[in-house]
Amino acid sequence: MSSILVFVESAEGQIKKTSLEAVAYAKGMGGDVTTIAFGTEVSDSELQGLGNYGASKVLHVKDDRYNKGVIQAYASVIADAMNKEGADVLVLANSSLGNPVSARVAVKVDASLVSNVTELPDTSAGFKVKRSIYTGKAFANVELTKDKKILAIKKNAAEVKEVGGTATVEAFAGSAADSDFSTNITKTEKATGEILLPEAELVVSGGRGLKGPENWGMIEELAKVLGAATGCSKPVSDMDWRPHHEHVGQTGVKVSPQLYIAVGISGAIQHLAGVNSSKNIVVINKDPEAPFFKAADYGIVGDAFEVIPKLTEAIKAAK
């Protein structure tokens, strides 16, 4: 295996957990792992720390123009780095930036590209990967036929392991053209300090059964006690009870946490499509016939307004 390049993303100066999984994935493939990171918000020591997860080198594009998601410019620089490093595999985490960037890189370097990859490749004959399709309801095993390969991996495709060591950080200029910056990002609105839903290990999610936005206090309280992110069903975000980025399901965020707690959500097939790769699902619903129970690991039939405060207390007591 020759050299692998990993695109790592950071948020608020920290490497994202999903990017650490991408590094772990690349390490799992064997061979030498080089990473590329962007922007001025991430420190040298944070980047050196990538060594602890298996990276030997970090190319740092230390330029504040990359503090925003300039898709075309990211794509040009990553393609350039693949060529300069002689990398024939690029690994990255599926994300709102990674996906559109990787599509452009694939065309630039003439690579086979597969997203939603769930397992390490099988290279015993050709180069095959397993990917999630039909929104988590099935898998496809596909062969990548071009010399260069790009894998956008799904959360939990690899386990983050600390291997010890530090990575060397090198400045990388990369050749992005002025036209690559033609998209003018005027403003970024972002929840800070919150646990991000797509990356969360624990999620507490509420549906229409909660009756109104004023009742979300108990959901937030439970989430806080657990250290969980909050999510919701589509009608809840459609009615603006909750922000759109919390909407889970077929047409919203697909989560893959260790634990998903669904409160007052009926379990429509379109909602389940967003949660079916959760390790454990707890359903709390007053209707024993709610379809969500069929997809659950643990269930409580009961009124959320009584069960949730009690559950929050019980978790506090158990901690």
């Binding site: 599509a103 095993n141 839903l197 077929q250 634990l259 454990n280 707890v282 269930g299 039939v301």
Partner: protein, 245 residues
């Protein structure tokens, strides 16, 4: 303004997913096909933009003859004409290179599509089309407004959104709440029958992957029910059985 909307023809979101031919083919038996829900948002927004400032909407699908009812539905919703690229798509690159070829000299100001299809969930076609054509590609787009020759958009990011502006032409991968799905009315359905639907043969035939086989996830175990008066038992199970808290 000239808008191209690329749509997928995909199983209804309630479909049972199964495979045939030694797990090499999707089992379409008894399955209802729809316009991809994300593509449907893109189409709805295109119709609104046309209502505001005029222009034309062409809707395009890469697929066999069986996808024509889906294209007709898009015509009923408000597209003016349709293009079907007559091929069984093999992967994102195949679809993107055919779309780019058709769009190349056609002068579209906007090329809209869903952020991803709901069968393969690739989320890659818009970016590839943008790169092949050498124009910006933005995804996932939550709002889209036109101001002169500039498109103003909100792009969803983890935990929030980015507001951005870019000159047309461009490609956008759309998602809600860009517009509300439109249901075709009787007049639309009638007029869709006679709107042009042009079939063109594929010319690029590019692909980067081949399918080995499909598989279904393992069946889920039975649910453990806990009494509502005994939430401590649930906490105990999550702690000691599932080991997640």
């Amino acid at each position: 303004m000239k808008i191209l909307v690329c749509i997928t023809h995909v199983p209804d979101t309630t479909s049972r997913i199964a495979f045939t031919d030694g797990d090499k083919k999707f089992d379409a038996n008894g399955v209802q096909f729809i316009i991809g829900p994300y593509d449907d948002y893109a189409l709805a927004r295109a119709v609104e933009l046309k209502e505001q400032s005029g222009g034309s909407i062409t809707v395009l699908n890469v697929g066999g003859a069986e996808t024509e009812p889906t294209l007709r539905k898009a015509l009923a919703i408000g597209a003016d004409d349709a293009i079907r690229i007559n091929a069984e798509p093999t992967d994102s690159l195949f679809v993107a290179s055919e779309i780019a070829h058709v769009a190349k000299d056609a002068g579209y100001d906007l090329i809209l599509m869903g952020r991803e299809s709901i069968d393969f969930n690739g989320g890659m076609v818009h970016g590839m089309v943008g790169e092949i054509l050498g124009i910006p590609s933005i995804s996932p787009v939550m709002t889209l407004d036109i101001d002169g020759d500039t498109a103003k958009m909100a792009r969803e990011i983890e935990g929030g959104k980015e507001m951005l502006e870019v000159k047309m032409p461009l490609v956008a991968g759309c998602q809600e709440p860009i517009a509300e799905w439109k249901i075709p009315n009787m007049r639309g359905i009638m007029s869709a029958r006679t709107k042009p639907l042009n079939v063109v043969e594929p010319s690029q035939n590019q692909s980067g992957t081949t399918l080995d086989k499909f598989e279904l996830p393992p069946a889920k175990g039975a649910v453990k029910m806990v009494d509502a008066d005994n939430v401590a038992e649930l906490v105990n199970l999550l702690k000691n059985d599932a080991k997640v808290i």
